[in-house]
């Protein structure tokens, strides 16, 4: 079972290639405002996260996730199920 820190580290590593502006990554960093991702980037990133953790993040769930911290929590919960 991965700890939240391990999940967070993996999520940050996955953000890397998409973080064109070199934004500092914190729990509260938002995908839309801070990272300024468009819907296409979001799709590619979500696919990468899904493949890394072997989970599905439905579009219904994606609508609720705004920050990196919320994503890590969601991943932890999905891996628990």
């Amino acid at each position: 079972m991965a700890t939240r820190e391990e999940i967070m580290a993996k999520v940050e590593a996955l953000i890397g290639p998409f973080n064109n502006k070199g934004v500092e990554l914190k729990d509260a960093t938002t995908f839309a405002s801070d990272l300024e991702w468009d819907s296409l980037t979001v799709m590619d990133f979500v696919a990468a996260v899904e493949d890394e953790f072997d989970i599905i993040i439905t579009m219904n769930m994606q609508a609720e996730i705004e920050t990196i911290g919320q994503l890590a929590d969601a991943v932890a919960k999905l891996m628990d199920n």
């Binding site: 468009d38 799709m43 899904e50 493949d51 989970i55 599905i56 439905t58 579009m59 219904n60």
Partner: protein
């Protein structure tokens, strides 16, 4: 008071900026006169139409128009009622019979538009706890059908069989699953690898729905669509289509062999809570559908047109949406909206109408000049079209 329209300010600003450059508004063209499926008068000028969905040119077919006129006289101008109350006339039933004959399927249900067919079927089939798995480039009506229902929505990368399979395998085995695919994706005119995708869906216990809006009448030996052409139509659970493209009128439908399909008429809200189509529309649709069953020569000519235009545009130096002609849609990729609009206007000045498509309708934020061919375009018209593209492309520096 908060102005509820202020959320559209960025779009209003973008339009104003675009129009300030002097281009005509590409989204408010009026056709003053329509001479045939391929020629209209726009701004007083005779214009070749290369941006309609009139793939098989049925809008001016003599039999089709005659059938509409007769039904208009015999049944009146409209039904003023829902299909499940007073809105089912014999032409509605006959149209569903025509669809069953066309597809060789057991059930057919006609909706008032293709948009409503997707909206109704998807939202009704997939309920709470079920999953809809869709291609990320799906049409707005598919997304809206998902939004209207209560299912969990899972998107996968466009036309990526492996991405679809991976996601299906991660979903709970016992959960209801509906995979929604399109035969032809209308923005780039590319075709889905349905053979592999339908197999993967079957292997993973998912039901399948294929929207064949842009392939009906043209693709496949009998014009049944991409699922026919790839030999998997018998494995598809639901096919969605429209009358507003090859059939040449308006309306939508779903056909299926599912033994319980008829119950959909009572539980599908966009079918129940709206007025049925006018009987004249039903008569034109059924006449057109039956003629499309025997239109092999027109299909062959449309393929010739599509291949010729694709090769010609590529040879002129335009960047196209597909490596070869895969459907009747050829998409020319423009560098940005401003140059797209300039090119669109230059083509119109030459006497050619194409569709200007922009985000969010397009994938990957592309600006496209979408050309859709008609079986009634002559080979000479395609030559003329290529000449216009060359002149306009050089005038605006696109080639």
């Amino acid at each position: 008071m908060t102005d509820l329209l202020s959320k559209f300010d960025p779009l209003i600003q973008e339009r104003e900026t675009l129009l300030a450059t002097g281009v005509k508004d590409p989204f408010s063209l009026v056709m003053e006169e329509v001479k045939s499926p391929t020629v209209a008068v726009c701004n007083g000028k005779e214009t070749i139409l290369l941006g309609t969905y009139n793939y098989m040119g049925m809008t001016f077919d003599d039999d089709v128009r005659e059938a509409g006129l007769t039904a208009l006289k015999e049944f009146g101008s409209g039904t003023t009622g829902s299909r499940v109350l007073n809105g089912t006339y014999s032409p509605h039933r006959d149209c569903e019979e025509a669809l069953k004959e066309f597809y060789g399927m057991d059930h057919a249900m006609v909706f008032s538009t293709g948009y409503q067919a997707n909206l109704g079927i998807i939202s009704t089939l997939a309920g709470k706890g079920d999953y809809v798995i869709l291609d990320i480039d799906s049409h707005a009506s598919i997304y809206d059908g998902c939004a209207m229902g209560n299912a969990e929505i899972v998107a996968f990368r466009h036309n990526d069989v492996e991405a679809l399979e991976k996601r299906l395998k991660r979903l709970p085995e016992e959960a209801g699953k509906l995979v929604v695919l399109e035969g032809v994706y209308s923005m780039l005119g590319d075709v889905a690898p349905l053979k592999e995708m339908i197999r993967v869906c079957k292997e993973n216990g998912a039901m399948t729905l294929v929207d064949e809006a842009h392939s009906m009448g043209f693709i496949g030996d009998n014009g049944r669509g991409v699922s026919e052409a790839q030999g998997v139509i018998d494995d598809v659970d639901f096919i969605i289509g429209t009358f507003s493209k090859s059939v040449g009128t308006v309306g939508g439908f779903c056909v299926s062999n599912h033994p319980k399909f008829e119950i959909m008429r009572l539980v599908c809200r966009p079918y129940v809570f709206t007025a049925s189509l006018p009987p004249s529309v039903m008569a034109t649709a059924s006449t057109s559908i039956r003629k499309l069953m025997h239109s092999g020569n027109k299909r062959a000519h449309l393929w010739e047109n599509s291949k010729k235009l694709h090769k010609g545009l590529r040879d002129l130096g335009f960047e196209l949406g597909t490596p070869e002609a895969q459907s009747a849609i050829i998409a020319v990729i423009m560098p940005d909206l401003e140059r797209g609009a300039m090119m669109w206007q230059a083509l119109l000045a030459e006497g050619l109408y194409v569709n200007l498509a922009r985000p969010p309708a397009t994938p990957a934020n592309m600006t496209l000049l979408r050309c859709s061919l008609c079986a009634e375009h002559t080979s000479e018209q395609v030559d003329q079209i290529l000449g216009m593209f060359e002149a306009a492309g050089k005038a605006v520096g696109a080639i």
